[in-house]
Amino acid sequence: MSNKMHIKMNVNGKDEEFLAEPRELLIYTLRERLNITGPHIGCDTSHCGACTVTIDGKSVKACTMFVAQASGSSVTTIEGIGTPDSLHPLQEAFKEHHGLQCGYCTPGMITRATKLLEENPNPTEEDIRFGMAGNICRCTGYQNIVKSIQAAAVEMSSAKEAAE
């Protein structure tokens, strides 16, 4: 179990450098090596999306990616989206529209939704349901998650217009 690899990556704006076994999964790197526990483990097989993070602009499920594959990348987790004093509109919208219950899927949901709204700033309900289909929630039945994302999209669009 030697043969450690030299990994360099940027996580939530901070440079990280360490040695890791080639088999180390990114989700354990984040959760156990770097103490970033927002991304969760729900299925181990890429189905549930609780571990969703953003890597170089793409939504990725961290439970089925080796950290070695993420070496040299820039990773954003829920911890890198908004701060307590300045929440992301999606974080506000999920609170406002009861888009979560147990909270376990929420970091992955919001992280995925940030990318969805970048890909498509004005999604229809169908776009949202399709675009979020890689993230499972067992509590909400999705209705209020869809509503939260719709509300955030409107909020972000009007903020953008105001800025232009």
Partner: protein, 805 residues
């Protein structure tokens, strides 16, 4: 005074008390990734433990060799039953009065059973260790069918004396667990034998699994210096777990602290006690270091807490006009290798005896036989109150089958058999006393809202079009009317391992007019920190925003039986209101003293006590709180605290009316849900936003169970559904938007009239989705097909009815 300019309505609004859609206080941490779930816990020197599991469903263990595993760097120990036996911990009691192996003791009874526990520096080393533990198995004949089990010469539980009674009375066969009866056998048989009309049906309520997104896990820390054990874990009943740990480990209960941190959904999965919990404790005692155990998804689906698996056979009799006269039900209940069902002690088949449903059925009889097979143990209440889901599915299918026999509309059949409003409290034939209900009002509202007659006309036209070759899609109208029985329960008939099923709340008011309240329950997403503060705000007149709710730490919270079976609001919610009233009673005395009037001359008004007839003379609860710590009041102790242990006088009986409209493509078997209307009556409504969220979630879990979710085994006892590839969890893409509605029939015996709602949508939803599928095929001769109605099975139904010819 500044207060005087605020209107009474504003004062009410400021409290954010009962009835308002207060935003959840939990959400700040969850939306920022700052929840604290058990796998987030990291302690100095913490080890990771994981199981060697049996690949066989039934096998004798001839030897275990851990030598090679122990050579792996980072592997510290490999525990087997032999190591646990001297401590008496190789077996543990189950909640159902049976016992279960913690680690395989000579044999295994289901695939995935825990055989050895590898303790290592981290999860990778543990996994490496598991690979190298050699187990010598001798395969034994496998039984996965409970009917075969009762005829077989193969004895599954060799540890039990075949001639001795089980925990629930005589056993008929070495693989038989119990027979449980309710109602009157002979009179029911007589009524059915002499009835105008009798409908019969056999149905299988398939095995499934609650599958919360977070699996089960624990972290144990045995502090040998102080003799204290701390156990964090995914516990829906932390106090009961503390008592169980004390009883089986011999550690005195005051030296055990059990903590349920944030829980990522429970749905019944996290009620029981699992070998992993015990092994993490033992491993911490052995190594002197904290030990974490976390299930992976496959462990979770294959080993902890299946639900349902009921083979139900029913007879229902009626007059020619459709008045139901009798109901008979026999259940063969597959409990797997150990009887680990999570039910109150006196109810080995849970509340299956609510199977007369919402109908005035004069005579009924229920018999349940529990059976061992080579499948995983469990039998938990998956988003339901102890087998109510099975009961409601049974009666709501029997009603449909009877309607077919009578050639009658099933909405009308329901209407003429509903228990009438004036019959409450209603004593049902199988023993329960329903507290309150107004079924006709709810049903009429539901049918009117969806334009039921219009839907039936559309459906008739669709059948014509189908027959004329104009469409390949059929239309199904699913109906269900359910009565739940929740809030277990009165201590006189409900206990778990002898612990009465009361619940509790303890309140401390702080000098500056804020408060903390601790409860014996534990939220798993239901939003207790939000809603219980609302109950208190209305009861004690301090803003909900100034009240912290805390649960899940047995060192600080009062003893309670936890959260499952929709019992938090009916039981702990009642305790909260009652404790609040104790606070208010003392506050009244303080107010009277401060206002220099007699106690009876002041009255409570929203957030203050006012002098009767002189509303300008008052003391706010904030002022009273300060006075409680600041004034020496003759005859009163300082401080403002209260505790209530609430033993409910009865269960509560929420009910609801659901309608599902579905289009089904007969060539692909794909159902498309066009509309789902859900009317729920949960009595007094504490937070409408949260109620609606619970309904959406419960309906989605119902959709999953009815339309595809299943724990399936092959003949060798291999679990075929161990990952989310095979086990259906609906995504946003498959789930419709739901329309929610309500009526309010308060519980007459609950202090605030609330009945509980979390499980209603699941209980009522499963038969509604199923009935929609079955109804689509009714015009072509279908009476009943078993769930889950996945695309393949729907296609097969269509094919069997000749619709592809």
């Amino acid at each position: 005074m500044k207060d005087e300019v605020i209107s009474r309505d504003d004062r009410v609004a400021n409290l954010k008390g009962m009835g308002c859609s207060r935003k959840r206080v939990e959400d700040a941490r969850f939306t920022q990734g700052k929840g604290n779930y058990v796998d987030d816990i990291k302690l100095d020197g913490m080890l990771f433990g994981d199981f060697v599991r049996s690949p066989y469903a039934h096998a004798r263990i001839k030897g275990i060799n851990a030598e090679e595993a122990l050579k792996i760097p980072g592997v510290l120990a490999v525990l087997t039953a032999e190591d646990l036996a001297p401590l008496g911990l190789h077996w543990m009691p189950t909640l159902a009065g049976d016992k279960q192996m913690v680690l395989a003791d000579g044999k295994v009874l289901f695939q995935g059973q825990e055989v050895a526990f590898v303790v290592a520096e981290d999860r990778y080393a543990a996994a490496d260790g598991i690979e190298l533990v050699e187990v010598d198995y001798e395969e034994l004949p496998v039984i996965v069918d409970p009917f075969e089990s009762l005829k077989s010469d193969v004895v599954l539980r060799e540890d039990l004396d075949p001639n001795a009674d089980g925990a629930h009375g005589p056993r008929k066969h070495p693989n038989h667990i119990f027979t449980w009866e309710a109602g009157d056998k002979e009179p029911t048989e007589e009524v059915i034998a002499n009835a105008d009309i009798v409908a019969e049906e056999s149905m299988y309520y398939h095995r499934t699994h609650p599958c919360p997104l977070e699996t089960c896990g624990s972290v144990a820390l045995m502090d040998k210096v102080n003799g204290k054990l701390t156990l964090w874990g995914t516990f829906q009943a932390p106090h009961a777990i503390r008592t169980i740990v004390s009883l089986i480990s011999g550690i005195e209960e005051h030296n055990i602290r059990v903590i349920s941190p944030d829980i990522g959904g429970g749905f019944g999965n996290k009620v029981g006690a699992y070998p992993g919990y015990v092994c993490s404790v033992v491993a911490s005692i052995v190594t002197g270091r904290p030990v974490k155990w976390i299930e992976d998804r496959m462990d979770n689906l294959m080993t902890t807490a299946f639900a349902r698996d009921y083979w139900m056979k029913g007879k229902i009799s009626a007059t020619k006009e459709g008045k139901i006269t009798g109901l008979q039900c026999h259940v063969t209940a597959d409990h797997g290798g150990f009887d680990a069902c999570a039910d109150p002690t006196k109810f080995p088949a849970g509340f299956m005896n609510i199977c007369t449903g919402s109908y005035d059925i004069p005579t009924a009889y229920l018999e349940v036989d529990g059976v061992y097979t080579n499948k995983a143990p469990g039998g938990v209440s998956y988003r339901c109150s102890f087998r109510v889901t099975e009961a409601v599915y049974f009666i709501e299918r029997m009603i449909e089958v009877l309607a077919i026999k009578l050639n009658m509309d099933s909405a009308e059949l329901r209407r003429i058999n509903f228990i009438k409003k004036e019959q409450f409290p209603y004593k049902a034939a199988l023993g329960w006393e329903y507290d309150s209900g107004d079924y006709h009002t709810a049903w009429d509202k539901a049918l009117k809202t969806v334009d039921y007659d219009g839907l039936r006309a559309e459906q008739a036209q669709r059948v014509e079009d189908f027959k004329a070759g104009k469409t390949r899609k059929l239309m199904g109208i699913g109906l269900s009317f359910f009565t739940e029985i929740v809030g277990a329960g009165p201590v006189k008939n409900c206990d778990i391992l002898g612990l009465g099923m009361f619940d509790s709340c303890e309140i401390r008011i702080h000098p500056t007019g804020s408060a903390i309240a601790r409860l014996g329950t534990i939220s798993q997403g239901q939003g207790h920190a939000t809603t219980f503060a609302q109950i208190l705000a209305s009861e004690i007149g301090l803003p909900a925003d100034s009240i912290t709710i805390e649960e899940g730490d047995t060192d600080t919270a009062p003893y309670g039986l936890g959260t499952y079976g929709s019992r938090s609001t009916p039981v702990a919610g009642a305790a909260t209101a009652m404790a609040g009233r104790k606070i208010r009673a003392k506050a009244q005395m303080i107010a009277a003293y401060l206002l220099e009037v007699h106690d009876n001359d002041v009255e409570f008004d929203v957030d203050r006590f006012v002098v009767k007839g002189a509303p300008e003379r008052f003391k706010t609860m904030k002022e009273i709180a300060f006075a409680a710590y600041n004034q020496a009041i003759p005859g009163l102790e300082p401080g403002l605290e209260a505790v209530s242990y609430y033993d409910p006088p009865n269960m509560t009986y929420p009910f609801g009316a659901y309608v599902c409209v579905m289009d089904i493509d007969v060539d692909t078997g794909v159902p498309e849900i066009r509309r789902f209307y859900a009317l729920d009556d949960c009595g007094t409504r504490i937070n409408p936003m949260i109620i609606e969220g619970q309904v959406h979630g419960g309906l989605t879990e119902a959709l999953a169970v009815a339309l595809g979710q299943e724990i399936a085994y092959d003949d060798m006892g291999n679990c075929k559904t161990g990952t989310l590839m095979d086990f259906f969890l609906p995504t946003a893409w498959e789930v419709p938007n739901y329309e929610t509605d309500f009526t309010v029939t308060p519980s007459p015996h609950h202090p605030i009239g609330a009945k509980g709602v979390g499980e209603s949508p699941h209980v009522g939803g499963v038969p509604c989705f199923s009935n929609a599928v079955q109804d689509a095929f009714r015009p072509f001769g279908n009476t009943h097909t078993n769930m889950p109605h996945d695309h393949w099975r729907i296609w097969k139904t269509a094919n069997g009815l000749g619709l592809h010819d």
